[in-house]
Amino acid sequence: MSKFQKKRGKATPAISTASLPDIIFMLLFFFMVVTVLRDSTLKVDVNVPQATELTKLEKKSLVNYIYIGKPVEKYQATYGTKPRIQLDDKFADLADIPLFLEKHRSTIAESQQTSINSSLRVDGKVTMGIVTDVKTQLRKSNQLKVNYSAKPRQE
C-alpha cells in the first residue's frame, strides 16, 4: 500500500512541448504538398456560367487551360475590350493554340496522351464566335475532349 501512496506525493511534471513544432511542421508540409498554387495569373476577366451537369477534372497534369474573356482593366488600354484568348500567362491568338497544345502534349507520356482534356474557361458574356473558332482549332489539333468550365448552380 505504501508503494502506491508514494507517487501521489510527487509534483506533476510540466508536459513537454518540445514535439509541438514537429507536429506543426507536419501539418505545414501536408498543406504544402496537397495545395496547388494558382499557376497562371489571369489577364482576362472570367466569370464562368452556372450549370448542373458537372464532371470533375481528375488529373491536373493532363489538362490544358484556355481562358477567354475581356482583358482586365489594366490591359484594356493596349488590348481593347474585345474578348481575347489567354494561354499560360500571355494573351494569344487563335494561331498560337496548336503549338500550345503540342507543347503540352509532348510533356505527357504517350500512353496517357489520349486522356488529355482541355478546360475552356470562358466568361458567360462572351459571344460564341471566338469560342467556335477555338473549338475548330482544338478539333484540327485532334484534341477532342473538352470541358466547359462551370460553377455548380445554386437552386
Binding site: 506543426i24 498543406f31 495545395t35 496547388v36 456560367p49 450549370a51 459571344t127 478539333r139 462551370a150
Partner: protein
C-alpha cells in the same frame, strides 16, 4: 576569467519554444495563399475535324430535335419559339416519347438532337442550353437504370452502364454556327 564564464553560457540549449510560433506562421500563410481549386465543368466530346464536307444523311424529320439559338439568345425548338425553362422536360418527352406520338422520336436510339447557334449568341446561354439537353439525357438514363437495376446511373457497373448508354445514346450534332448577329 570573465571570458570563460561567457563560453559556459554558450553551451546552453537554444530555446525552441518559439519554433512552434514560426511554424504556425508559415502554416497560416500557406493556408491563406493556396486555393484548393476544384475544376468542374460540362464534359463534351468534339467531333473529329475533316476537310471534306460532311456527308448529308437523310433523316426522318420526326427523329430530329432541332434547337436554334439566335444572337438575341432566343430559342427556336422544332420551328417554334420556346423557353429555356421548359427545354429539359420538352426534350425528355421527345426522346422517350411515352405516348407514341407520330411527331416525336421513334425510339431513344433514333433520336438526334441538333444544336445550332449564332456567332453572336452569348456563351452563357449556349452552355445553359447544352446543360439542359445533357440533363434531359441524364434524367432519362437515371430513370432507365432505376427501372432495370434499381440504382442510379452513376452507381452502375461498367457493363450495366454500357447497356444503358446503348439504350439511350446521346447523339448531339452541332452545326456550323450562323453568322447574323454582332460579335461583341
Amino acid at each position: 576569467m570573465a571570458r570563460k564564464s561567457s563560453r559556459d553560457r554558450l553551451s546552453n540549449e537554444i530555446n525552441a519554444g518559439s519554433m512552434a510560433d514560426i511554424a504556425f506562421l508559415l502554416l497560416i500563410f500557406f493556408l491563406v495563399t493556396t486555393t484548393i481549386d476544384v475544376d468542374k465543368g460540362v464534359l463534351v466530346r468534339l467531333p473529329p475535324w475533316s476537310e471534306d464536307d460532311p456527308e448529308t444523311e437523310k433523316l426522318n424529320k420526326r427523329n430530329v430535335y432541332s434547337v436554334l439559338v439566335n444572337a438575341n439568345n432566343e430559342l427556336l425548338v422544332r420551328g417554334e419559339p420556346a423557353d429555356i425553362k421548359q427545354l429539359r422536360e420538352n426534350a425528355k418527352e421527345f426522346i422517350a416519347n411515352p405516348n407514341n406520338r407520330e411527331d416525336m422520336a421513334e425510339s431513344p436510339q433514333k433520336a438526334i438532337i441538333s444544336l445550332r447557334n449564332d456567332r453572336g449568341t452569348e456563351y452563357g446561354t449556349y452552355l445553359e442550353v447544352y446543360n439542359e439537353l445533357k440533363a434531359a439525357y441524364t434524367e432519362l438514363r437515371n430513370a432507365e437504370s432505376q427501372r432495370r437495376f434499381q440504382k442510379d446511373f452513376a452507381f452502375l457497373s461498367r457493363d450495366n452502364r454500357k447497356q444503358i448508354i446503348q439504350a439511350i445514346p446521346l447523339i448531339l450534332s452541332e452545326a456550323e454556327p450562323t453568322d447574323f448577329g454582332e460579335e461583341k
